[in-house]
Symmetry: C2
């Protein structure tokens, strides 16, 4: 099988790096910049920065671009790191150059010559500065008086691939893996390089290249496949992205020939030290390990009566000499729960498991915490573990892949959801202790902090299956760099870069509306009021109200003929609310103050319970589902106005997906409404058809 | 992979053909019979009969047995077909020999010599007589004054294998196929011969060797694989079993290179004529074709605007010159139904499709009709199509494989169910028009009639997965021969033949109770009152009340907070009841007369509806589920008393399955009870724990 890496108009392969001529801002706008000045091009990242700039400018201006090492009088784009004899020397004030941090950059327009100068402390900073400048040009912005200083808010800006070596992608909705086929690392490296480009252009600086569920073949990435891994590391290195591996906690047994994986066993520790040494021999800037242990049937330290800190520290010790880190996932819960047991609450699990271990983890261990306590539902509260371990490095984990939000067959722009999560005030250190500030490290000042997220790409020609799902990948990177950006600003950037529409144009506004409303629409016709799931088991696509109701997965709605929801209060329920600080706990604990959209996550209420909206729960279900399906049809009608405005191939592709979504939203509407009409016996106030 | 065809004590491989010494009747009982007299042994079936008799007698008496062609004075067993110069000539009165029909036999003890004589019209009859005699000896019966005359009640006594050439078995619960592996017919023929023996010993005379869902590879059984098929036919021929093939209706397109499968197209007809000729060239006594067409996504004549009669007759015409028959399945319904559409009723489908075609089918076409209108549920009414087409050959189809009755992990002896079905009075020709008489051809006198059933065997060492499931295979064959046998008589035979217990022994009675109660027990903890399904989709194992409720498969319970069941009355429902004759229709139509165990099949009633038993529907559900799970535990306790009474390996095997059943019955109980408590809000009168 060969990847089709050749760009075809409208197939989405170039994504937001189209570099059209003329750009949205009009033809000829940037044509004075035909010369790039750069030095130090033996550095691979600087070389990439210069190449990207050449390629981007060529596309935007339609002109040939020259690269030189010396500054001339004509307007140029000058790029380089700060330091004696640098080409950017003297363009920036000390104040500015001192304010630029690692990975940050400054961009200024030189008044005298009109040249644009990009300076940074590191080659990575230069690369990000170049992509910033190209983004300005790609969206038609002015470059006359640039005076930009940017540092990334988050130190770790990571992507997790859930790719398996057989070529499948766990929870992948965009084709097969671009990394693997036939239990080997692919020889088709061009597509991987193009992916690295896409990621770097949004600011991503780390990637785990294999699924957190590490099977036997993948265990050998650490050993037998290391030369191939090194080849991938070189590609990502040239885009300033560090490569990590997900490891099998029981590798010592699986591939190491030992009979134990006890983290306190000297032979186990020695095996990991040797293995780490070999990895760093092959990949000197290797990032480290991502670990899913004692979770969903994966092996872990529990087998040996050890805890997560023992397990993580053992690995961290092996990586420490090389500056490597261990990222330990907190997605740990009892997945063999008895549905009859209403006292066990999966939502509590991450906090209960990890919070007591605060202070026990080494400095080069990071805990990776899913944004919510369950599993990437369309609506969940924020995980109470975030910020609750002041002495421990933490990163937040998002899922760009739309596992529970339409699987890239429905449009669901997730940046608004992520924004809400980041803006949530944990109040852990008083008001203003937002998740955003916890995650960026400014609250606790721990050595490591940041974002991780499950990728949504595969070998579909447009990367993400649904073309509009590219906005989530783009948005994740942008948000990881700067969580202060607004969801619509990010969407706007993506629209202009991808389709070329300026913000004043009707198609821009139309697309922006589609994206910005899509999450709310998806939520409205699926599981109501924060209750979650109601999906088909295993593949998680499509409605099935009782799909997980009598299962061992700990995800229930407890609907009966009187009411529904999960009582997670401290007064009468599972006590989950007590994992929040007092103020938040009290808000969730009380029916008076619990937000409507999380009501059924926290409370079991009668169908006749009246929401703050003034509607009963049952009427809310009917209304949102009728409206949601109607609005899903509206997305399709809206898109039809785009005909002729976008490439025909792209038009038809999105039309087909939106048609499926519209039909499928009706199935959701009818199954949910029928289920609750049958169960509650309460008719729709408006007498609409419920089967 | 090699089959383990070597008998190990207790592994169940010999099934009911153990031929123990001493037999249940006591050692030495049959030791005077050391000599067999038989002639015409160049006939393959007579050869088999003699061989089986030698082997059986050897096992039972522990002595060497001689075979000769001439009669001596010492007591012998004399076998042969009637006719001049036959060894049996003169032993039977003309009255007796005239009363023996094809496949029938007579057995008499000769007063003068004490010899036992088995005479028949055909070699097949001799073979069945031999197995009858061995059954008498195997169960310790007296042979002093035998005077037996048996003719099979049913002409066609068929087994359908649902085996695929990749080695899988559709709805198989006993390992892989014994016929195929790696898309080839297996070279391991010994096991197939042993299977033929088992079948012939119960009276089976026809087998279809491949799944009714015929995929591309299997289509080529008709052509490329014909030499291998002929080898299998030879094995079955020696046991008087005719071989049939399931065919792909669209073979002309799939493998014939034509662009159509239109039954009226001359090229299509010609292709089938040529193909049939080639098949009969290879297998002169080939039985014919079994066809699943226009059913569950299989191709059929509908594509060309033709009907089932057109399709079946086209094939029948091709087979007619050779005496072959077409067996056309009536399992035809819309499997893409919209669950919102309550007017479409899958139960009606077979009758609606086929009944109007009565008189249109050729004489060598047989319609194969599932016993019930839905699909082998634990409880269904009898299919109204049975007997409703007086001018058309019909056979009834049972499923020995326990697809919906515990999948050979739960014990469920199905003979009592089949007996109930056979005893059902359709009243089509007045009172006494039982299904049994329709199926045996005595009501309408059509050329063909009989039984077909889906096999329950695979390459598990005991053939059927659950050792006790052997009783269903045995019972099916015995019932097909003589539907007048009682379920407990058949169970008793099987128990004694398999385990050696005489009927007066405690273990016999215990096992008999386990078998005889097992269907009722299974029914009691699964879907209640004839409503059916409530199983997990696809694999059909384990409880899932809403598993098919919002699907396209047409199998719903319509439970809401008030009540449940399907209104199939003519007055207010789907009109299904009108497919029965007036008297039966009236019985089902009225709540007063509809039997409790079919109530929810025919009616939608409130949970508070009072059954004839005096209980409400909801209390019936709770009671039967609590009792059923308790009784399932009782089966296990009962079996534990068998320790030491049966081979230890067999003991442990059955104990393990019954343990699983007991645990799983609790899961059924809790999921059904919880579902209906939540839905109805009506508590258990006895206050037992419902979650």
């Amino acid at each position: 099988m060969e990847y089709s890496v050749h760009y075809q108009p409208g197939d989405g392969y170039l994504a937001w790096l189209q570099y059209r001529n003329p750009a949205a801002g009009g033809a000829g706008r940037y044509q004075e910049y035909q010369r790039i000045v750069a030095a130090g091009l033996d550095n691979t990242v600087l070389r990439t920065a210069a190449d990207e700039l050449v390629q981007g400018l060529k596309g935007i201006t339609g002109l040939e671009i020259s690269v030189s090492e010396t500054i001339a009088a004509s307007p140029s784009i000058i790029i380089g790191t700060f330091g004696a004899d640098s080409v950017v020397d003297g363009f920036f004030s000390t104040e500015v150059s001192n304010a630029v941090q690692a990975e940050g950059y400054a961009i200024q327009t030189d008044n005298k010559t009109g040249s644009i100068v990009i300076g940074a402390l590191t080659p990575a900073g230069v690369l990000y500065g170049v992509f910033h400048l190209l983004r300005i040009m790609g969206t038609g912005g002015s470059v006359r008086q640039l005076n930009i200083l940017e540092n990334p808010a988050n130190q770790l800006r990571m992507i997790n691939q859930w790719d398996n070596m057989d070529g499948s992608v766990e929870r992948g909705y965009a084709g097969q893996s671009v990394f693997y086929e036939n239990n080997m690392i692919t020889g088709q490296l061009e597509r991987i390089q193009d992916y690295a480009r896409l990621l770097a252009s949004t600011g991503i600086n780390a990637i785990t290249i294999n699924n957190v569920n590490v099977h036997q073949t993948e265990s050998r990435l650490l050993t037998d496949f290391l030369p191939d891994v090194a080849r991938l590391a070189a590609i990502f290195r040239s885009y300033a992205i560090r490569l990590f591996l997900s490891i099998n906690y029981a590798s010592t047994m699986e591939i190491g020939g030992l009979e134990t994986a006890d983290p306190l066993d000297p032979d186990v520790r020695e095996w990991w030290r040797m293995t780490a040494a070999a990895v760093y021999e092959a990949i000197p800037d290797f990032g480290g390990f991502l670990v899913k242990a004692d979770s969903e049937n994966r092996p872990g330290p529990f087998t040996y009566g050890r805890d997560h800190a023992d397990g993580a520290n053992m690995l961290a010790e092996a990586l420490q000499p090389y500056g490597g880190i261990v990222i330990w996932r907190c997605f740990v819960y009892n997945c063999k729960q008895d549905w009859r047991d209403r006292s066990t609450d999966r939502a509590r699990a991450a906090y209960d498991h990890f919070q007591p271990l605060d202070g026990r983890f080494m400095d080069n261990v990071i805990l990776q915490i899913k944004n919510g306590p369950i599993d990437f539902q369309v609506r969940e509260p924020v995980s109470p573990l975030l910020g609750a371990m002041p002495k421990t490095n933490q990163v937040i984990e998002f899922q760009i892949a739309q596992e529970y939000t339409g699987q890239q067959r429905h449009v669901c722009y997730l940046v608004p959801q992520w924004k809400e999560i980041l803006d949530f005030d944990t109040q852990l250190q008083g008001k203003g202790t937002t998740v955003r500030r916890i995650v960026d490290g400014s609250v606790h000042g721990n050595p490591y902090s940041g974002f991780a997220a499950v990728s949504n790409i595969g070998n579909d020609s447009n990367w993400t299956g649904h073309l509009l799902a590219q906005a989530n990948l783009y948005g994740y990177g942008r948000l990881a760099w700067n969580p202060g950006l607004s969801a619509d600003a990010i969407a706007g950037e993506w629209i202009t870069l991808t389709f070329g529409f300026a913000s004043a144009h009707e198609p821009f506004q139309l697309l922006l509306r589609i994206l910005m409303e899509s999450w709310e629409i998806y939520e409205s016709y699926t599981a109501p009021l924060g209750v979650g799931f109601m999906v088909n088991p295993d593949h998680h696509y499509g409605p099935n109200v009782d799909g997980y109701e009598y299962s061992m997965w700990g995800t229930y709605h407890f609907a009966d003929c009187h009411g529904m929801g999960v009582d997670r209060t401290t007064a009468t329920g599972t006590g989950y609310t007590s994992q929040y600080v007092q103020a938040n706990m009290e808000q969730y604990e009380s029916l008076d103050s619990c937000p409507d959209d999380l009501l059924l996550f926290f409370h079991h209420v009668p169908y006749t319970h009246v929401l703050h909206s003034g509607k009963t729960v049952i009427q809310h279900i009917y209304d949102t589902h009728f409206e949601g399906a109607e609005r899903a049809y509206g997305l399709l009608s809206d898109w039809k106005l785009m005909k002729g405005q976008v490439d025909d191939r792209a038009y038809r592709h999105v039309e087909e997906r939106l048609t499926e979504q519209a039909g499928h939203s009706k199935e959701w509407r009818d199954r949910i409404n029928t289920y609750f009409l049958r169960k509650s016996g309460i008719p729709d106030q408006h007498g609409r058809t419920i089967y």
